[in-house]
C-alpha cells in the first residue's frame, strides 16, 4: 500500500479508481478521464495534488543558497508573492527535479517539488543548505488542491470572505499570497487559468467538497497528464531525468546563464554543453495518421536519425494523438513513428498544443 493524502477516503467515496504514483495511492479518474479533461478546458476541475512536496526554506542567506541550488535565478523574485519555475541540477547538468519556488515574507521561500522526487530532493537540498545556514522544513501538515479551468478562480473565490476574495482575484499569473490559513497561488499544470491552494490538511476535504458542490469536477491524474501534455508541460521521469539536461528537454528558457558570476550547481557542465551544442532536442509530435502515440515508441527522422517518444497519448481537445519526443537536433518537418509495428506519419510541432481551451496547432 502506498502513501495516502488527507483526501484518500473522500476519493474512495467518490468512486475514484486509484493508481500508484511516486509511491502514493492517487485517483486516476472518477469515471471518465476524458470528461474530466474537458471540464477543465471548458468550466472547472479540482485535483488533489497533496502528494507533491512543499518545502519551506529560511535563513539570512536563503537567497544566496537558492542562487546556488537552482538553474533559474531567484533574483527574478523581486517581491514576496512572486513564483518562478526552474530546475535543480546535479554537477553534470542532469535534472534532479523541476519545481516551483515562491518568495514568502522576509528571507523565507517555499518550493513545491514532485511527489516521486521528494526524498531525493530533500537529501540534496539538506546536503547543500547546511553551509548556508538555511533551515529546511518539509510541510507535511499541508494539503494542496489545484482548481483549474476558466471558471476555477471565481469558484475558489466564492469560498472566501469578500475582502479575501478580491485579494485572491487580484493575483496576477505566477503570483501568490497568504489568505488566512491558505496560501493561494495563480499557478497550475493544465494550460488553463486557476489556483493552487495550499492549506492545513485537516481542512482540505471540506474545500474539495465545497468546490465540487459549486460545480468543479473532481479530476484524477489521468486528466492531469493529458492536460499537461496538451499544454506542452514536461513530466519529470518521462520527459527529463538525471541523465538529461535542460537544453535537450525544451527547458533552456528556465536556465539563467546571466549573470555569469552566479555559479549555480550544474553551470560548469551546461557551459560546456552550450559551447559544444546539443545533439538532441525535445519536440512536440502531432500524429497525421490514425492511432495513438505512446511513451518509448521509436521515432524515425528520414536522413537524420532516430529518437524516442517520452510522453504520448490522445488529446481530447484536438481529437488526435500528440506526443513529446527526444530526437536528433536537425529533426524537422515530418517523421515516422513505429506504432506497434506500423510506421505512422507525425508532424514536428512546437508545444503547447492547446492553451486556454484553444487549439494552437492543426
Amino acid at each position: 500500500m502506498g502513501r495516502r493524502t488527507a483526501l484518500f477516503d473522500l476519493h474512495h467515496a467518490l468512486g475514484a479508481r486509484t493508481v500508484d504514483f511516486g509511491g502514493w495511492d492517487m485517483p486516476l479518474h472518477y469515471g471518465s478521464q476524458v470528461a474530466e479533461h474537458n471540464a477543465v478546458r471548458r468550466t472547472a476541475g479540482v485535483f488533489d495534488v497533496s502528494h507533491m512536496g512543499v518545502v519551506d526554506l529560511d535563513g539570512a542567506r536563503s537567497r544566496a543558497f537558492l542562487e546556488r541550488l537552482l538553474a533559474n535565478d531567484v533574483a527574478k523574485l523581486t517581491a514576496p508573492g512572486r513564483a518562478l519555475y526552474g530546475c535543480m541540477l546535479n554537477e553534470a547538468g542532469g535534472i534532479i527535479d523541476d519545481l516551483l519556488v515562491y518568495r514568502l515574507e522576509g528571507s523565507a521561500y517555499r518550493m513545491v517539488v514532485n511527489a516521486g522526487r521528494r526524498d531525493v530532493d530533500l537529501a540534496w537540498i539538506r546536503g547543500h543548505a547546511a553551509e548556508f545556514g538555511v533551515s529546511v522544513v518539509e510541510r507535511e501538515d499541508l494539503a494542496m488542491l489545484a482548481v483549474q479551468g476558466p471558471e476555477a478562480r471565481a469558484l475558489t473565490a466564492q469560498r472566501l470572505s469578500p475582502a479575501h476574495a478580491s485579494q485572491a482575484l487580484a493575483l496576477a499569473p505566477f503570483h501568490a499570497c497568504p489568505i488566512d490559513d491558505w496560501y493561494v497561488a495563480r499557478t497550475g499544470y493544465t494550460g488553463e487559468d486557476g489556483f493552487e491552494v495550499m492549506l492545513p490538511a485537516a481542512r482540505a476535504a471540506d474545500l474539495f467538497e465545497a468546490l465540487r458542490a459549486a460545480g468543479a469536477v473532481p479530476c484524477g491524474l489521468g486528466a492531469r497528464d493529458t492536460l499537461r501534455l496538451e499544454a506542452g508541460l514536461n513530466l519529470y521521469g518521462n520527459d527529463m531525468d538525471e541523465q538529461t539536461d535542460p537544453f535537450e528537454s525544451a527547458l533552456g528558457w528556465t536556465v539563467a546563464m546571466q549573470p555569469a558570476t552566479r555559479r549555480f550547481i550544474g553551470r560548469d557542465a551546461l557551459e560546456v554543453i552550450e559551447r559544444r551544442g546539443s545533439t538532441r532536442k525535445l519536440v512536440g509530435l502531432l500524429l497525421v495518421d490514425r492511432g495513438v502515440l505512446r511513451r518509448h515508441q521509436r521515432v524515425i527522422a528520414p536522413g537524420v536519425g532516430e529518437g524516442e517518444i517520452t510522453s504520448g497519448g490522445f488529446s481530447p481537445t484536438l481529437d488526435r494523438s500528440i506526443a513529446f519526443a527526444r530526437v536528433p537536433i536537425a529533426t524537422a518537418g515530418e517523421v515516422e513513428v513505429d506504432v506497434r509495428g506500423r510506421a505512422l506519419r507525425a508532424r514536428v510541432v512546437t508545444p503547447p498544443f492547446v492553451r486556454h481551451g484553444q487549439p494552437l496547432v492543426s
Partner: protein, 131 residues
C-alpha cells in the same frame, strides 16, 4: 457490478460472442473490459475477408491508458466490421454489447466448437478476479 447478458457467450480474455442463426457470430469486448480500459479513443479492426483463428490477435483497442489486443474467440472469415467505431470509439464504453460490436465472422465449417464460457461461468470468473 458488470453487465453480463445471459444470451451471449464469453472468453477468459473478456470478449463476447453473439451466435446468429445464419452461422455467423458477432464479437466485441465485455462491459468489464471496457470499464477496466477506461475511455476508449481508438480502435483498429481486421479487414473484411480476413481469415481469423480462435485465439489470434485480430483487433486493437486503445484507451486513454493503454493499447490492448483483442483476440478472436472464434475461427472463420471476417464478413463485416463496425466502421462507426473509427469516429465513435466511445460506443464501446457506452454500449459494449450493442453499438460497440467490433466484427462479424462466418464460422469456419468443421472448425470445432470454440472454447467459450456461459454467462454464468463468465460472471463466476469476474467474481474470482475481483477477489
Amino acid at each position: 457490478m458488470s453487465n453480463v447478458p445471459a444470451e451471449l457467450e464469453y472468453t477468459e480474455a473478456h470478449e463476447w460472442i453473439r451466435r446468429l442463426p445464419d452461422g455467423t457470430a458477432e464479437v466485441g469486448i465485455t462491459d468489464h473490459a471496457q470499464h477496466a480500459l477506461g475511455d476508449i479513443v481508438y480502435v483498429e479492426l481486421p479487414e473484411v475477408g480476413r481469415a481469423v483463428n480462435a485465439g489470434e490477435a485480430c483487433a486493437v483497442v486503445e484507451s486513454v491508458k493503454s493499447a490492448s489486443d483483442v483476440y478472436s474467440p472464434v475461427s472463420g472469415e471476417v464478413i463485416a466490421r463496425n466502421g462507426a467505431l473509427e469516429t465513435t470509439p466511445e460506443a464501446i464504453n457506452q454500449d459494449p454489447y450493442g453499438a460497440g460490436w467490433m466484427m462479424r465472422v462466418r464460422l469456419a465449417p468443421g472448425g470445432g466448437e470454440p472454447k467459450t464460457l456461459s454467462a454464468a461461468a463468465y460472471t463466476e470468473l469476474l467474481s474470482r478476479e475481483s477477489d
